[in-house]
């Protein structure tokens, strides 16, 4: 916990309960993310990580409990309103628009924006983070490799200039080299002032860059604390992270 913060957290989730059909996917999840932090939500398959993010961005609406963004409840909003409030969500599986070019994918990220100069500025910024994308702006999104698609998905979300970036398993299916690179970029984005909520199965990597962490297990927060502390605690690693 960040002690002594005076203002409301940027994002606060209170007693979140969610169902997938008859499956009780979230059983009262509470956590908060302070401005400027990287907070990671780790845990195994089916722990409820993706459900938590989908509930925040309102893709999933069958939930109870409250979600506060900058002190205001967002549970009544539609997904596009959540985005426009400043929450960008890079979903599981990246969901690149395969039939749009890379440039069009990025422009979709700035959909709410009509200021052409600002769009151009954000594009340039994206290209400095991901030079590889700049060489391929005319290429269709579907032709990129998994790692490149992940970069495009992050770059597209950054086009929204979000207050907080929700990342769902950015390392999934990537080669170790790409995983390293994507985590470096997440750190860089955070240094530039964007708050990050990172969902990861790769707990080791996530704890390496996060400030604080929550461990999800069977739809409940099983453990929380300082990321470095969790990383160095062997008992926790064995019990919750599945690392021997």
């Amino acid at each position: 916990m960040t002690a002594g913060s005076q203002t409301a957290p940027l994002l606060e989730v209170r007693d979140l309960q969610a169902y997938y059909g008859h499956i009780h996917a979230l059983k009262g999840v509470s956590f908060k993310v302070e401005k400027g932090e990287i907070v990671t939500l780790i845990g195994g398959n089916g722990a409820g990580k993706t459900t938590t993010l989908a509930t925040i961005s309102r893709l999933l609406t069958s939930s109870t409990g409250d979600i506060l963004f900058e002190g205001r409840s967002i549970t009544g909003l539609e997904p596009h309103d959540v985005v426009n409030a400043g929450i960008a969500h890079v979903p599981e599986g990246r969901r690149i628009f395969s039939g749009l070019t890379i440039l069009e994918n990025l422009e979709m990220g700035a959909f709410a924006l009509s200021d052409k100069a600002e769009i151009a500025r954000r594009l340039e910024h994206g290209f400095t983070l991901f030079p590889r994308l700049k060489e391929r702006v005319k290429q269709l999104g579907g032709t990129l490799s998994g790692g490149e698609q992940q970069m495009l998905a992050v770059a597209r979300a950054l086009m929204q200039n979000p207050r907080i970036l929700l990342l769902d398993e950015p390392s999934m299916g990537l080669s170790p080299l790409f995983v390293e690179r994507i985590f470096e970029i997440i750190e860089a984005i955070n240094r530039e002032g964007t708050t990050v909520l990172l969902v990861e199965q790769n707990a080791h990597m996530a704890l390496g860059i996060a400030h604080r962490a929550y461990v999800l297990k069977n739809g409940e927060i099983a453990m929380e604390g300082d990321a470095r502390h969790l990383l160095s605690d062997d008992a926790i690693r064995e019990a919750y992270l599945g690392e021997g």
């Binding site: 961005s57 893709l59 539609e78 997904p79 596009h80 985005v83 426009n84 960008a88 969500h89 979903p91 599986g93 990246r94 969901r95 690149i96 628009f97 395969s98 039939g99 749009l100 069009e104 422009e107 979709m108 990220g109 959909f111 709410a112 579907g142 597209r156 929204q160």
Partner: protein
Amino acid sequence: MTYSDILMLLPVTLADGLVLGLVYATIALGYSMVYGVLGLINFAHSEIFMVGAIVSVEVMTYAFVGSDLHPIIQIAVAMVCAATVSGTLAVAAERIAYRPLRIRKAPFLAPLITAIGISLFLQDAVRFIESLFGQFIRPFPSIPFFDQQIPLTANDTISYKSVTILVIAGTMLLTLNYLVQHTKLGKAIRAVALDRKAASLMGVNVDRIIMITFLIGGILAGVAGVLYALQFGRVDPFTGFIPGLKAFTAAVLGGIGSIPGAMLGGVILGILEVLIGTYAPIFTNNVIGTEYKDIFAFGILIIILIFKPTGLLGRSTTEKV
């Protein structure tokens, strides 16, 4: 019939086929775009088209018979009226019938049945209203201007009517193509068609884009209705069925969901239909008459779909991870 006689018929046949094909294409776009964003075959679309045709006949009959206005302006006014009514109806169908089913996550057959229901409702509603005023088979007032001919080749002429239809339908198709490929709205429509959830994560109001897609499809169908009424001179509440089915076929032939595909499919189907209608009787000494043209057109469709089930320009469905 000599070889040169057969060749002589070709320019006129192709021109007629192109006229018919562009009308099919204009209707087909509505099927294809709605299918693109919703995965729904909007069978009510043929009736949206029929209503456009009826509106144009009524506008021409009650506002313009005996009028001194230039016939092109008359047609333009009829087009605006038909497009307004058809566009409104298409949006109403989405808001009243399809969206509630979507919100309640109804299984995919429910909107399909609903579409057929709307289709029957519109047919009978129009029949009822027209019957109140007399015959429900409505003739398009004859306008001598459109029967004038201009030379096509050394021996052939083409009517002002056909030229008007070619120009209007061609303009609609080019405008739509520009809208979809080169504007922000078009990008949003394509994004929604590719991945609705991802589009909403970009801040796109998906329901609004779906509504606009219905509106565009309805406007195109309304305009196609005017062109159809102008070309064939007579409409009734059941006029929509066969052209609607052909336009749907054209959309499938071109690859449903694909906009260039719907255009290509419409043109191919129109030309095939007229070619076969003209030449089948000639080559078979009238054993196979013009009335068999649909059998050949649909037969060719079946063959193409056997070898290319996604249609000519359709993408194979991309796997979603």
